[in-house]
Chain length 445, copies 2
C-alpha cells in the first residue's frame, strides 16, 4: 500500500501543520495536539487539565457565549472535540467543505481565546463531580482506576485521581492559568485532511491563526516513575454480581529497543483476541471469564503491564491462578515458533486497518510525530514486525514479565469466591479503601 | 456530492448482491442482512435469534472447529461479526485484499453450514446468562429494557425480554431449526465494497456460494402493535447514585408520510445535540440532567416516542416536570420559523457524515434496500428535508406527541427525590417488578 505524503508547513508563529489533501468527499478534518495534560495538574487541583479542555470546548469564546458557539457549530453540522489525556491535550474539528473555514475559525477561537463562561463552568463542574461520584458503581471502573495507583503510587502524576473536592477547588482563574501556560502554537502539532487546495489552505491558516503568538512553555518537572510498588493481593469487597481482576506491574517505555518483540509477545499473550493464550485458556476452553485481555504497555515514561479479567464470582480465584500459570509458562518456555509466525502475520495484516482512510492515517501520523517517533515509523512498521524472532520474544517475556512480583487487585463479592484469596499463597489480601466513597461526600448540589 | 453507483447482481440461488468498487485502499468489506430476528423467537425460548447469531459466529463451521475458525480468521486479521436485531439478522466480513477470498469462504461457511459446536454452546450460553444477570445493575439499562415493555406490552415480540431460564431452555436443535427456517440466500441482501474487479468478484461469489440453495421462508405471523398501554408513572426504587427516566408512548412507522417533518421535529425537540430544546432547557440552562435526548422513533411496525434522561436524584421530579412542559409547549405552539430553518440546515449538512466513505455508504444503502425504501431514498433525502415547513412540523407534533397520555418510568433512589412522584398529579406511582432479579435465580453454574 502507499502512504499519503503530507505537505509540512511551519507557520510564522511556530505552529507545525501537516496537510493531507484528499478530494474523495467534500469534507475536511483538522486535529491538533498540545503538550499538556493531567500530569501537569497541581496535586490539590487534580482534574484541572480535564476541566480546562471541557471548558475550552463548552465555555464559549471571546466573541460568542457558550450557547451561541454551540448553535453556530450545530447549524453547520460541524463536529468539534477537545479533550485532555495524561500528557496530551487534543482537539479536532470536522465539517463539510463549504462550512470548514467558519468552523475552523470557531475552533481556533476556542484554542486561542476561550471565554470560560462562569455559569457554564458551574454546570460542567457539577457534571464532572457527578461522574466522579458514580465511578465506584462499576467493578471494572474500580479496578481500572485503582490498579495504576497501586503500581505507580497514588501520588504519581501518572495515577493521580481527581475527586469531587479537588474539582470543587478549581477556580476560573486556574483554567485561565493552565491555558496561558500550555496552549501556544509552538507547543502543538496540527493536521488537516480532506478536500482542499494546498495554497488556499495555507492562506486560510495564516488568516485564521494571525495574531496567535509564540510563548515560552515551561512545564513543571515530572518525577521519574519509581519501581517500588508493593506486590501482593489487594481486595475491594463489594456485593457486585461479577468480579473484576487486574494483574500486573510496571511496563516499558515507548522507545524500548524491544518494542516490536513486546508487540508480538502481547499478541500471543493477551491482545490477540480469540487466539491469545489468555483468551483460549481462561475464556474459551474453561469458560471461566467473561473477558480477559492485556499485555505490556509502552508509556511515555513506563507503561503498565496489566491483565484485565472479568469473571463469575464463583470462579474468581481459579481464574487468577490460571492467569499466573500462563504468565509463568510464557516466561519460562516462551512462545512456539508457530505462535510467533502467526502473530507476526496477523499483526502485519491488521496494520492496514489502523491507517485506513486519510483522516485515520492523519491521526496515527500526528500521534507518532507528537511523541517524536522516527519519521519513517509508520512506513517501516510492518518490516520491523516481520524481523522479530522467537528468541527475541522469549527474551522480552523474561525481561518484562515478573509473575513472582505482581499487584493482584480483586474487586467483587469476596465472601462468595470459589476459594479464599489466601489460598493463592501470596499472604493476607489487603483491603483497599476507595477514595471518595459516595457515603463520605456531601450531598450533590 | 456524488453517490457511489453499485452494480446489482442476482445470483442463480436468489442472493441479491450490490457491488461497490473502490480502489482507494487494499481492503474489502462485505455485509449481509437476513429477514430474521428476535421477533420470531418462540415466547418460551426468548433469546433464540441472539444465541443463533452468536453461535453462527463462534460455533465453528462444517469444516472447522470453533478454535480453528477463530484462528484462521485472526491470522488473516479478518474481522467477522454476526448479530441478531429484532427483525434483521446481519453479518459482515472485512479483510485485506489478498486474504478476502479465504475470509469470505469462512464467512459463507458460517452462514451456510454452522457447526453449532455443543461445548462452545455451553460457554456462550453461560456468558449470555451472566449478561442477563447483570442487566439490573445499571439504572439506564433497567429503564431502557422496561420502557418498551410498558408501551408495547411485555408479551409483544417488539418488547419481549430473554431470561436466564428462556436461554437455558434453548437446545442445539433449536439453533439448527432457526437457521434452517431463515438463513437462505433468497431471504437476504448482500453488499461488497472495496478493492476488487467486478468480473472477478462475480466469479468468486458464484464459486463461494455454489450449492447454497433457495428455500421457501415462512415466518410466523407477528401481531400488529396495539395502542392500549396504561399511561401513568412507574417506579423502580433502588439506591442508585443517580436517576434514570424514560418518558413517552408509541411512535410512528418507517414509511409514515410525515417522516421528514418528524425528523425535523426530533432535531428541534431532543435529537439535535446542544441546540435541542430539551438539552438547552433541562441540561445546559438548569443543569438538572446529566444527559437528556429523544424523539419520535420510526419503526417497522410502530417505533417508540421516547425521551431518556439521567439526572441527579435530588432533581428527578423537577426534570420530569420540565420535560412535560417542553412537550406540551411544542405541541401547542410548535417550533419557531428560525428553529425549523436551522434544523433543516443542520440536518442537511450532517447527512454527508452518514454516507461518508464507501463502506459507510454501503451500510446505509443496504439498510434502506432491506426495508424496501424507495431506491432513490438516499439521493432525495436532503431535498425532502429541505421541503419541510413549520406548519408540517407543528402538525407532526400535534399528531405524534400526547403529553397527557404518557408512560413515565423512573428508576432511582425514590426516597431521596426532590418531591414525591405523586406531586406530578398523575396518580399513585406503580412499583414495577423486574423480571429475573438476581436473588431469585439459581446460582451461576
Amino acid at each position: 500500500m502507499s502512504f499519503p505524503k503530507p505537505e509540512r508547513i511551519l507557520l510564522p508563529n511556530g505552529l507545525l501543520v501537516y496537510l493531507f489533501e484528499d478530494h474523495e468527499l467534500p469534507l475536511l478534518d483538522a486535529a491538533i495536539d498540545f503538550k499538556a495534560g493531567s500530569i501537569f495538574d497541581p496535586p490539590d487541583k487534580a482534574g484541572l487539565a480535564d476541566l480546562t479542555a471541557i471548558m475550552m470546548r463548552a465555555g464559549g469564546t471571546g466573541e460568542s457565549t457558550p450557547d451561541e458557539t454551540d448553535q453556530a457549530l450545530e447549524f453547520m453540522a460541524a463536529q468539534v472535540t477537545i479533550f485532555a489525556g495524561d500528557d496530551m491535550l487534543g482537539g479536532s474539528v470536522s465539517a463539510v467543505k463549504d462550512k470548514f473555514p467558519e468552523a475552523l475559525r470557531i475552533f481556533a477561537s476556542m484554542l486561542r481565546a476561550p471565554r470560560f463562561d462562569p455559569s457554564r463552568l458551574e454546570v460542567e463542574r457539577a457534571r464532572v463531580q457527578e461522574e466522579i461520584r458514580r465511578r465506584w458503581d462499576d467493578p471494572g471502573e474500580i479496578a481500572d482506576l485503582n490498579f495504576p495507583r497501586l503500581v505507580y503510587g497514588a501520588a504519581s502524576p501518572w495515577a493521580r485521581l481527581s475527586s469531587a473536592e479537588s474539582v470543587g477547588r478549581i477556580r476560573r482563574d486556574d483554567l485561565a492559568e493552565f491555558h496561558r501556560r500550555y496552549i501556544h502554537p509552538n507547543n502543538a502539532v496540527m493536521g488537516i485532511a480532506g478536500d482542499f487546495d494546498g495554497k488556499a489552505m495555507k492562506k486560510l491558516l495564516e488568516e485564521t491563526f494571525r495574531g496567535w503568538t509564540q510563548a515560552k512553555v515551561t512545564p513543571p518537572p515530572i518525577p521519574k516513575v519509581k519501581d517500588d510498588f508493593q506486590a501482593g493481593v489487594y481486595v475491594v469487597a463489594r456485593p457486585f454480581s461479577q468480579s473484576h481482576v487486574e494483574i500486573g506491574h510496571l511496563g516499558a517505555g515507548r522507545f524500548d529497543p524491544d518494542k516490536f518483540a513486546i508487540k508480538i509477545l502481547n499478541f500471543i499473550l493477551g491482545e490477540g483476541g480469540f487466539t491469545s493464550r489468555l483468551v483460549k485458556e481462561v475464556r474459551s476452553t474453561r469458560g471461566l471469564a467473561y473477558s480477559v485481555r492485556g499485555g505490556v504497555g509502552l508509556g511515555t515514561d513506563r507503561g503498565l503491564f496489566e491483565i484485565s479479567c472479568s469473571t463469575k464470582t464463583a470462579s474468581t480465584v481459579e481464574a487468577i491462578d490460571l492467569i499466573r500459570r500462563i504468565l509463568r509458562q510464557m516466561r519460562e518456555e516462551g512462545p512456539t515458533e508457530q505462535e510467533v509466525k502467526e502473530a507476526k502475520e496477523a499483526s502485519i495484516n491488521s496494520f492496514v486497518f489502523s491507517v485506513d482512510g486519510t483522516v485515520n492515517f492523519m491521526g496515527s501520523f500526528l500521534y507518532y510525530d507528537f511523541y517524536n517517533y522516527p519519521p519513517d515509523f509508520l512506513r517501516t512498521y510492518r518490516d520491523n514486525l516481520a524481523r522479530v524472532t522467537r528468541e527475541q520474544v522469549l527474551q522480552a517475556a523474561r525481561k518484562r514479565l515478573d509473575p513472582d512480583r505482581m499487584v493482584i487487585l480483586v474487586v467483587g463479592n469476596a465472601t462468595s469466591f470459589d476459594r479464599p484469596l489466601q489460598s493463592l499463597g501470596l499472604g493476607e489480601p489487603r483491603p483497599l479503601t476507595l477514595d471518595q466513597e459516595p457515603a463520605a461526600l456531601p450531598a450533590a448540589r
